[in-house]
Symmetry: C2
Subunit: 281 residues, 2 copies
């Protein structure tokens, strides 16, 4: 397994691999790998000759009052997990290598960046789009693997890739959950045991909403009220949003129709948790 | 010579060329080719196995009151000029192919985009950076050739390439001039014969400034006054700006020092003309 820190070296390695006609799959992460990341790596490993994992806690996507410093960093453990998954290359640049002092360029994906989490995390998706463009140009993969848990991130990145003509396929992989349904997240480590237990109600609320829609409910306000009710009753969480939106355009739906993304963001203790499900009706 | 319109086809062609280990040089243009473009093509032809020319009048870099519609389009003549220069591939996508209806992504290079022409053409360099990223991802060249006449554009593109880790070398080629010194530009065709004659004073003013600096003058305000004086006296031009700036950072200089870009933009008749020289002191 190669561990690469320099952008130029990553690019050279990648073009050597491409010259052999091999297919490069790429899983970008911020490290602190959990089973959700491992599911991405396994899919990537299965489908490509070469499997690249990046580990980079991207300062650009954290707001000034967010958890950039606190974000878990477990490089040693990550490397050993990556080895077990037969990752070929770990690309783990320093912040200085990714953002030299005089960095001036940013990428903005209008509309998709401003909805949902974008309302509460100004600049977040600009940071995401910019770093992913940089990572794509460093790794130059054939296929990019993203987790469905970060549904809005998937939308923003897909749109950027399409708009800027990046020549890469995007595969979205289903959310991996704990036994009680909580979506895997590096930020779950912020939860106290009591908070952790209650956090499972986020997914339970989403499932209750799905049952309600399957029973015929189509009014988004009713669905949102149902979810909010469960979260208020069962957790001490502070809700950023609960929304029913078109799964492609992220446009809010008043009447649930087609492919609907039901997404939420809730602060529980020190953790800001997100989760979502897609309902087709 | 291939004439390619589809982004995907251009990408396939490019990766086939790269698989053979051949070096791709790329000259992006808006067409209406003149001797300045031909100098870029010759340099590109000389230094690379494969020479790609793009012709695309990019709507995104024109302001609402600018000359997008009037901009000269001479595809037939351009194709025959390109053939003479032994261009291998002309990439000439339609506006619809480059900007499908739901395009949402833009690239912004802070500071460099806001100075000089950026003050008078808001959004212009965002349009330039965005289209060049798209073209780079379509053509995937080893080397990109840009003309020094568009000095600020060169700065913005170099910065974007560095910041986003695009794996391409940038070569800047000297401005080609008419016999009387007027910088070649597709927009020169807007000038009446009388305007055309007077337009030569833009470069004469820059040369006078250079002489003055070589004679020891270091005060930027004196140099700017000199240039403005000549333009006022000798042309009917309306000046957007005359500036002395650091050639790398484009930061205004009060005392001329190091590598100085002396740049101007002047409206003469229907044409907005730009020109510049670099003085090392």
């Amino acid at each position: 397994m190669h561990i690469i820190k320099a952008v130029g070296k990553m690019q050279d390695l990648s073009s050597g691999i491409r010259a052999k006609g091999h297919r490069i799959g790429f899983v970008p992460t911020m490290g602190a790998l959990h089973d959700g990341h491992l599911a991405l790596l396994r899919r990537c490993r299965r489908d490509n000759e070469v499997c690249v994992l990046s580990i980079f806690v991207n300062p650009l996507q954290f707001g000034p009052n967010e958890d950039y410093r606190a974000y878990p960093r477990r490089q040693k453990q990550d490397v050993s997990l990556a080895k077990k998954e037969n990752v070929d290359i770990i690309f783990c640049p320093s912040a200085g290598a990714m953002y030299p002092t005089a960095s001036l360029t940013s990428i903005h994906v209008r509309r998709l960046s401003e909805l949902l989490c974008g309302r509460f995390r100004p600049g977040h998706f600009e940071g995401v789009a910019t770093v992913v463009a940089k990572l794509l140009n460093a790794v130059n993969p054939h296929v990019l693997y993203l987790g469905q848990k970060d549904a809005q991130q998937c939308c923003v990145i897909r749109q950027m890739i399409q708009d800027l003509n990046f020549s890469v396929n995007v595969k979205t992989v289903a959310t991996v959950r704990e036994k009680d349904g909580l979506a895997m997240s590096s930020r779950n480590s912020y939860l106290s045991p009591a908070e952790r237990k209650k956090a499972a109600f986020l997914f339970r609320a989403l499932k209750a909403a799905r049952r309600e829609i399957r029973s015929g409910e189509r009014r988004a306000d009713k669905i949102i009220k149902l979810i909010r009710g469960i979260i208020h009753k069962k957790t001490s969480g502070r809700i950023d949003y609960v929304s029913c939106v078109d799964a492609q355009t992220l446009a809010p739906q008043q009447i649930i129709k087609g492919k609907t993304l039901i997404a939420l963001a809730v602060h529980i203790g020190r953790a800001r948790l997100i989760d979502n499900i897609i309902v087709v009706s």
